[in-house]
Structures are given as C-alpha cells and as structure tokens.
Amino acid sequence: MSQLVDITVTVNGEKRHVSVQPGMSALSMLRDKLDLTGAKLVCGEGECGACTVIVDGTSVNSCLMYAVELDGREVATVEGLQKSEKLDPVQQAFVDKGAIQCGYCTPGMVMQTTHLLAKNIKLTEEQIRRGLEGNVCRCTGYTKIFEAVQQAAEAQGD
C-alpha cells in the first residue's frame, strides 16, 4: 500500500490541498479528486493531447505527468479560462468557427491553443499545424480548428 502525499497546487488561481498516491497522474488528480473533468483520458500515453493542461505557463499532457510533481505549481485547466459571463476568446473562436463537433478533444485543443498564442500571437498556418500536432481530433478534420486559432489570435491581438 502506498503512502498518500499531501500536495498544494494552485488550480485556476485557487490554492487546493490534495492527498495523492505517488503513482497517480495529474489527470486523475484533476478529474477524480478535484472534479475538473474537462481534461479527458483518451489514450493515456501522450499521443492525443486530450488531457492537455497548462502548468506554470507551459502546456503538458497531464496523463503523463505525476500529480506529486504539481506540488507548489500553478495549473490552468479549461474550466478556468472563462473570466466573465463571456467565453474566453479562444473558446468563443472554437464555437464561432464550428471547430467543435463531439467536443471530446476540445478542452485539450483549447488549452494547447491558449498556450501557443501565449508564446506567439503571430502564428503562421504552418506553426498552427505543428503546434497542434499532438492534439488528435476524429470529428472535424482540423480545418475549422485552424480557423478558430486564427480568429483567437486576431481577437487577442486587438
């Protein structure tokens, strides 16, 4: 039986105290301990990006990250993006451009897009494609997702 480890992690701006098993993934912690089910378990091996969250300003596959590694860190999940009654511009762009069908990949796509735009607001088409190469979508064929990223970039550029 493994000991539980107490960690303190700031999630979407809020300090949370959580007890986790050492072997637990960050994804499981977010979903099962904090009820933040936006990030999804799809492949469990870092090949699809559906679990993408932002840790200390950098996007990661939370299915591969150990929960204990979040101690003292800041995590941003899709649930924390919206800061007013209006959707966050990235979220709004995904809605507007029809980039959401079943929506299962959407939280990961939105978080990865948020990360990409934070690093570089002037993304070329090629950079968008490469930037999302770790995010799989089975429904949309990606084209409208690229358009959403472009709209979000323009909105944030204003």
């Binding site: 493994s2 480890v5 098993q21 072997g23 993934s25 870092g46 950098t58 990661v60 490469r130 770790g134």
Partner: protein
Amino acid sequence: MMIEYKNYLVPGSVAEATEALAQGNATIVAGGTDLMVQTGASGRGTDTTLINVRRIGDLRGVTLDGGRVTIGALTTVTDILGDSVVAETAPLLAATADRFASNQIRNMATIGGNICNASPAGDMIIPLMVLEADVELSSWRDGAVQTRTVALNEFFTGPGKTVKADDELLTSLSFNRPAEGFVGQFGKTGPRPALEISMVSVGIGGVQENGGLANARVVYGAVAPTPIRAIKTEAALEGTSLDPASIQAILDVADSEVNPISDVRASDWYRRHLVRVMTEEVLQNVATG
C-alpha cells in the same frame, strides 16, 4: 494501471538524490513522459520508492564554457529547441528537437530522461552521438557525491539498457563545440513531421571539406538494439568527395552496418531501405551545402 509505490521522495539536491538512490529499490522520475507509459501495463516499479528528481536545482540549462557545451539533465526538449547556445553551437540538436513527438511532450521530456530511457530509436540521442557527447553520472559513495563520465557511444548496452548503475543519477551531458565548418543533419521519416516513433532515424555530421565531410560521424537509430555509430560508413565518408556514384558506394557500406528488425511499425526490408534513402538525402544536402 496505477503503480503502487512504497514511498515518495523529492530531493532538492544531487546529494540528497544520490543518497536516496544508494538505498536501492528506487524508481527515478524526471519528466515522466516515458515512465508513466512503461510502468502502467507492466507493473514495473511496484513497491519501490518513487524519487522525483525534477526539483533538483542547477540541473536545467545550457552553458558554454571554454569551447565545451554542457546541458543539464533536466533541460527539456523545448528548452533545447529554443536555446541560444544550442542555436549557435549545435543547431543539429535544435533541429532534432523540432522533430520530437509533440509540443506538449517536448515541454515535459528531459534530455536526461530521454538518454536514460535508451530507446533504440532514441531521437535526441542521435545528434548527441554525432556530437560525441559525454554523460556525467553521479552517485553517493563514501559519504559524498562522486561523478564519472561515460562517452555516449559507450553508454548503451541494449534496448532500454545502459551502463548506468541503479544508484547513479545522470546529471548532465557535454560535448565540445563543433569545429568551424561543421554541418549536421538529422533525418526521420513518416507522414507526420514529429509524432512518429522513428522507423529509422539518421544523424550525420562532419566538417565540410573538399566536397565531402571530414571527421564524419554517422549515427543510426532503430536499426539495432541501441543507437549505433556507423564506423565503416564514417570511414567510407572520410576524404571522399560526394557525387552520385560515391554516395551510392557509401550507402552500400551503411547497408552492411545495420541490422534492423521487423516489427509492427516496419519490416526489416523497409528499415534497410530507409537507411539508404535517408542517408542519401542527408549526404546530398551536405554535398550541395
């Protein structure tokens, strides 16, 4: 399946980490990108102490000192991709980093972890072997941290196996800044730019001279149990002016040095074929400058 570790430690220094490792029965986690996947199905690591080395200070970053580049083991692949010292001294390394997995994985994966994972395909290992890097291994002996240096060429013993002892921690790697006129290229193929487990990867570097490469280094991944230096191919390259005919002769030598297997990703035939075409591509680029 979640692994049930007996204990969890998060050392803050190399001393603390190596002292803990000296107790034995430990599983090291750095970026976690390999560990989570590899342990899940196999149950490997159950009842061991999970040692998180990510919080050890001073093990992340790239420095240049007197012609020697040192990269801390916790430097991420994204760090390497954007680092100015790397860009200046070893752009081959950054170019390889750009073909590594995905942005999210690059953000998490450490160079130390990638090396210790010792995949026969091991993307980042290929250019490091071209650059003839050494790794520094630290351990706790006689009440203090001891280090030893191992050439990367001699580090791997089999798929997932290295000469690193269980009580050692890989703390950094280093290589000499390449000479003036050095060019290097990394090749990997597939329908996707990066998110492919390499069927074959190739790294070639050398100093451009007389229409060819001097002091050439040729490294292949995924064609043997470990990444390999193709010594005979290097010899064939040495002093050879590159033209279609001489390139073909060099490809024949490369073919003779590799021993790829068939697996779910590719047959041995195709891997051999890729060794030829990718080596040809890299050599053509080098020949034309």
